[in-house]
């Protein structure tokens, strides 16, 4: 059987995490190629519906990442993210989606190494769980 290559969607805020991803690229750091990155102006823009839609459309894992608490470009957008995603984690768990498939991370523009570390960990843990998509299809 072919090796399972998880698809992982990343919602990255424009001001911190996306810049960190850029820095990782320009610094020629290596990380797995499993990520589909979606830039949002603020992690507070990420509606929980987006995360569910990503899973529905075949993502095996989702990362929401933004500025560290206190560093939000929009003062407190990421505090809303913190509350939303904490509640969403609980909801996903109740819906049978393992908590390892969903991650909230604070990654500043300077923390390219942190991103690489998160990326490696995430791929490992999602690989261990296997694909999600086939489990969403209930035979009619």
């Amino acid at each position: 059987m072919a090796e399972f290559k998880p698809k992982i969607v990343v919602f990255a805020c424009n001001w911190c995490t996306y810049a960190a991803l850029d820095l990782a690229g320009t610094s020629r750091m290596k990380y797995p190629a499993n990520f589909r990155v979606i830039k949002v102006m603020c992690s507070g823009r990420v509606d929980p519906q987006f995360v569910l839609e990503a899973f529905k459309q075949g993502a095996d894992g989702v990362i929401v990442a933004g500025c560290h608490p206190g560093d939000c470009h929009y003062v407190n957008g990421n505090m809303k993210t913190l509350r939303r995603m904490t509640m969403l984690k609980k909801m996903l768990e109740e819906m049978g989606i393992e908590k390892e498939r969903f991650r909230l991370e604070w990654i500043s523009a300077a923390e390219a190494t942190k991103w690489v570390q998160v990326a490696n960990e995430m791929v490992e843990q999602v690989k261990a769980l296997g694909p999600l998509k086939p489990r969403l299809e209930v035979k009619e």
Binding site: F55, L82, R83, R84, M87, I97
Partner: protein
């Protein structure tokens, strides 16, 4: 020969409340009966499936179908009604999004059957009999029992639905508005909600004036903890009322009875997943900056997160129900 519009009513997996809701029209029921011919209504009128089969295609003006699709029989009948009707209306929360019976999608079919037929304390079933088609020797006939589908589905996952009438059940006003819209032919684009408001419940809530401009609460409260002040916005008192994310049209009935909105009129236009939207809203008004405290409040104050936020809409949600291990 009368040329009145023909109406059919049918129920699938529902409690019967939507059938009662039609009768709740009170004396207007007589106006309805004067205006239309009811050609099929298993609860109230003695027509059979064969009678519907004999009708020409598209000859029924509208079929109002309530309840979610749980059995193969539901599937069969709604497909027939679709073929015979110009308009199909998903009437009530169960038909539109799955409703309360849709919470069964948190369990596997086998678990549900086992619970209902073997484990419930009031059931004695030593031979472990499950409903099934069998041959009755005495009568010499095959007794057909419809099969339970793996999941409960909203009506629009099985057939095309023209309009939705929300509510658990739809109130008499909403029902009457919807029927009038249908009979007058003054209809919005296909796929719309008819009979209800296009604005959130807060818009018509009598307590809206007491809702603070900036709504932030330190701690959610449960309705069992205190008696809310009936003159003050329930959200401002800490109750997780779902009015801001729920369609209006009910006349704020629950709030007038001092109970927070549970969301039975479903999502507003442009929202596809009610529970996720409700979660997003509750998270945004909670004035807490500590992850552990959020977790504690969810556990202690909201308790049943999926049951609370997807109470009427689980089968129509993006995941459709619990995701099981293979």
């Amino acid at each position: 020969m009368s040329e009145k519009p023909k109406i059919a009513l049918y129920w699938c997996a529902s409690c019967g409340g939507c059938e009662e809701a039609v009768l709740d029209l009170a004396e207007k029921v007589l106006d309805l009966v004067n205006a239309v011919d009811i050609v099929f209504w298993p609860v109230a009128v003695d027509f059979k499936i064969e009678d519907v089969e004999k009708l020409p295609d598209k000859s029924i003006t509208a079929s109002l179908i309530n309840g979610g699709i749980r059995l193969t029989e539901h599937e069969k009948v709604v497909k027939l009604l679709r073929q015979k009707s110009q308009y199909v209306i998903a009437y009530g929360a169960c038909s539109a999004w799955g409703g309360i019976p849709g919470l069964a999608n948190l369990y596997k079919r086998e678990e549900l059957l086992s619970r209902a037929y073997f484990e419930v304390p009031t059931v004695v079933n030593e031979e472990k009999v499950l409903p099934r088609t069998y041959k009755d020797e005495e009568l010499g006939i095959e007794v057909e029992v419809p099969e339970v589908l793996p999941r409960l589905l909203p009506l629009d996952r099985v057939i095309e639905v023209d309009y939705y009438v929300p509510g658990c059940p739809p109130t008499p006003d909403v029902t009457w508005n919807a029927i009038q819209a249908l009979l007058s032919g003054n209809l919005p684009p296909k796929g719309s909600v008819i009979g209800a408001s296009s604005k959130a419940l807060c818009d018509e809530c009598p307590l809206n004036e007491t809702k603070p401009d900036k709504l932030l609460i330190k701690e959610f409260k449960r309705i069992t903890e205190f008696t809310p002040d009936p003159e003050k916005c329930l959200l401002a008192q800490g109750l997780p009322c779902l009015g801001p994310v729920t369609r209006g049209g009910c006349g704020a009935l629950c709030i007038k009875a001092n109970m927070p909105c549970t969301g039975c009129f479903g999502m507003l236009d442009n929202v596809s997943d009610y529970g996720a939207k409700a979660l997003s809203f509750l998270a945004s008004i909670l004035d807490v900056e500590d992850e552990k405290e959020v977790e504690r409040q969810v556990k202690e104050k909201i308790a049943d997160l999926v049951g609370r936020l997807y109470r009427y809409t689980l089968p129509s949600s993006k995941l459709g129900g619990k995701v099981f291990k293979r």
